[in-house]
Symmetry: C2
Subunit: 238 residues, 2 copies
């Protein structure tokens, strides 16, 4: 049977999603739990291959399993075998034409900035802390430029495996939540580092400059890549 | 000059407040930062001597300092010298008759229970996770019994340094916050382990049984002591 797993993880302890020999990764840790819970499994796929340090609140994986617990007990059984910084929030059976990556229509990310004058132990590793007051009006204006199709080559490393730099942003907006300011952004797919480099550029540049960069400029013209600890994969829609 | 410091800490990495040789404690870490920032300091006092693993969102300390930065820069200077799980949220000058412990009129604690069917990596070390549904009506009824003066000897270890077990609860109520249920409780002062043992007992016993235990019963008759990771010192009033 094919399972769809909804995953949460604190990315701080992982070298990203993709399994790498000798490194602690989300895929590697999930694979070890699948080994313990199911006699056999295959075709593990994921909606978003998150980078080192990036968190997930709504990552989606698909995997074919044989034997092992019934689907109603799968989440509990996997959680008992998973480390504390990785959890299966839900597991359900899906048809064999469902693929976590290929079937996904859109991904939604959040970038969290903690804006209090002093840092917080409870935000450590979970947000970018900015001491200086943020220009929330400029950030809102910058976010309004993003929806639609643009050439995002300025927002991904110049050494890249991407061949096509056009992406279509469905929505993008900053939300104030107490002492945090959060960018919520949805697109069919993203380039590597794209959300983090958009955030870094929004923090450093005027909206007019961002608009120019959306026309397909070299990476060197955009701003810095914001650190991974503020980034969350929050939802995948199918 | 005497400083009042408002402190936040993630208690998971500390063996409680009180300095102990060879152990990592909040008092010890704060003392090391004071050493680095001020040529001399003395009379460090604290409102609530939290136990191992207990968190603080609004701990208050007082300390006399000589030399070093101006009061406006004290929080920033101390934070630069403190570890990431301990922060000074605010520092201000107070008169020399202010004492963080003796001047405090009341302490407010929160006990956080995370109630989702599956655990969360982001709640790890920050709440008690309860798989089973909670009887929220019974918990609310139990909390309503607490305000007023009672003999709380059932809710503190039988080997104790306390001589007087009478305490007066000003307010106590459970609040639902999303997927969490939180007890907010305020009193002039608390016995050691008192909030955690009240929570453990509320989770295990009927309200009528709790009421009986408030009349001064041996520790053995009350419930278990809930784990420290759900407990936060949230506010001290003067």
């Amino acid at each position: 049977m094919r399972l769809r797993l909804r995953l949460e993880y604190d990315g701080g302890g992982f070298r990203g999603w993709a399994a790498q020999p000798g490194l602690r990764t989300v895929e590697g840790s999930l694979g070890a739990a699948l080994d313990r819970v199911f006699p056999s499994w295959s075709r593990l796929a994921v909606a978003g291959r998150t980078d080192t340090g990036v968190h997930a609140l709504g990552q989606v994986a698909s995997v074919d399993v044989d034997g092992g617990p019934a689907v109603e007990r799968a989440a509990e059984a996997l959680n008992a075998a998973l480390p504390g910084d990785l959890a299966v929030v839900a597991a359900d059976e899906v048809s064999t034409d469902f693929h976590a990556r290929h079937s996904a229509r859109s991904r939604s990310y959040r970038y969290r900035i903690f804006t209090r004058p002093t840092r917080s132990p409870f935000e450590r590793g979970r947000s970018l802390w900015r001491l200086r007051p943020l220009d929330e009006k400029a950030l809102a204006a910058a976010a309004r430029l993003l929806p639609g199709e643009h050439d995002f080559r300025a927002f991904t490393p110049s050494q890249t495996e991407h061949a096509d730099f056009l992406r279509t942003i469905e929505s993008a907006a900053w939300q104030r939540r107490g002492e945090a300011l959060e960018l919520e952004i949805t697109a069919g797919s993203f380039l590597r580092h794209m959300v983090r480099t958009l955030v870094g550029t929004m923090l450093e540049r005027e909206p007019a400059e961002l608009e120019r960069l959306l026309g397909g400029r070299p990476r060197s013209e955009a701003g810095t890549t914001a650190p991974p600890e503020g980034l969350y994969l929050v939802r995948v829609d199918y």
